[in-house]
């Protein structure tokens, strides 16, 4: 009988092997920005409880180019997260039916984008419209 010696290939560096994996890792890395931003916002809430001076010092610090760049990156990450999240959402939610007709994944994705734009417009309107 022939010898059996099954060979297992190593996984190290797997995410560099395929553009699909690379994009997946980019998707996952948005979490770093989401986390850092949330901590940053938490700190902002904290300054509100301390008082006006603390809040204004915080706002002034955010004007530093490092923070502006950070927030620009965080915005890009949040947008990438939103895009990828809406696209995979149909895979995670139960299949939807209208009567006996299955609602297509593409419709589900589109509806989310519409909601996203409406909600974002409302938030920006309320916050920046004065």
């Amino acid at each position: 009988m022939a010898t059996r010696r099954p060979y297992m290939r190593p996984m190290a560096g797997w995410w560099r092997r395929n553009p699909f994996y690379l994009f997946y890792m980019l998707r996952e890395s948005t979490a770093v920005f989401v986390t850092l931003y949330a901590l940053q916002l938490l700190y902002g809430v904290y300054t509100l409880t301390v008082g006006q001076a603390a809040f204004e010092a915080w706002l002034a610090r955010l004007q530093h180019p490092v923070y502006i760049v950070f927030h620009a990156l965080a915005l890009a990450a949040a947008l990438l997260h939103a895009f990828t999240w809406f696209n995979v959402a149909p895979k995670a939610m139960p299949a939807l039916y209208l009567g006996t007709r299955r609602v297509s994944d593409r419709t589900v994705v589109r509806v989310q984008f519409v909601i996203f734009f409406v909600v974002s417009a409302i938030m920006l309107g309320v916050a920046l419209g004065g």
Partner: protein, 137 residues
């Protein structure tokens, strides 16, 4: 009742090692809720607090202490901030924890430490944001 319809009972059992119910649903539910919140709300929120506010666009008065604290001390505003902060943390840190596995930390004490730090931070952020927001009400 099922016995007759299971031709390979013995093999089934041999391949079905001890299966333990995972507690992951707790973390996944928070991750998922946070993912929804981050996707629908974060882009606009970051644009407002991270870019518009420090740059004073369209006008600096919009980001005065009075207006910000009025928002944070209203019930709706406090709830909004609490949801955005806490769920974003649960979402983000859950992914960070899973990435450490993907990048080669499979088991052992280091993975446990990362897990503790990730979920501990999320829990801490949740408690602190609730505390500060309630204090400001």
């Amino acid at each position: 009742m099922a016995e007759q319809s299971m031709p390979n009972q013995s093999l089934n059992q041999s391949s079905q090692r001890s299966l333990k119910r995972s507690n992951e649903p707790v973390f996944w539910a928070l991750f998922g809720a946070g993912g929804v919140v981050a996707a629908f709300l974060l882009p606009a929120v970051i644009l407002i607090t991270g870019l518009a506010a420090p740059l004073g666009i369209p006008s600096p008065e919009l980001f005065s202490y009075e207006r910000a604290s009025a928002f944070a001390s209203s019930w709706a505003g406090a709830l909004f901030l609490f949801i955005v902060i806490s769920l974003s943390l649960w979402h983000g840190l859950h992914r960070v924890y899973h990435s450490s596995h993907e990048l080669g930390i499979h088991r052992g004490p280091l993975l446990s430490v990362i897990r503790l730090v990730c979920y501990g931070t999320a829990l801490g952020g949740t408690v602190l944001s609730a505390y500060w927001l309630i204090a400001a009400l």
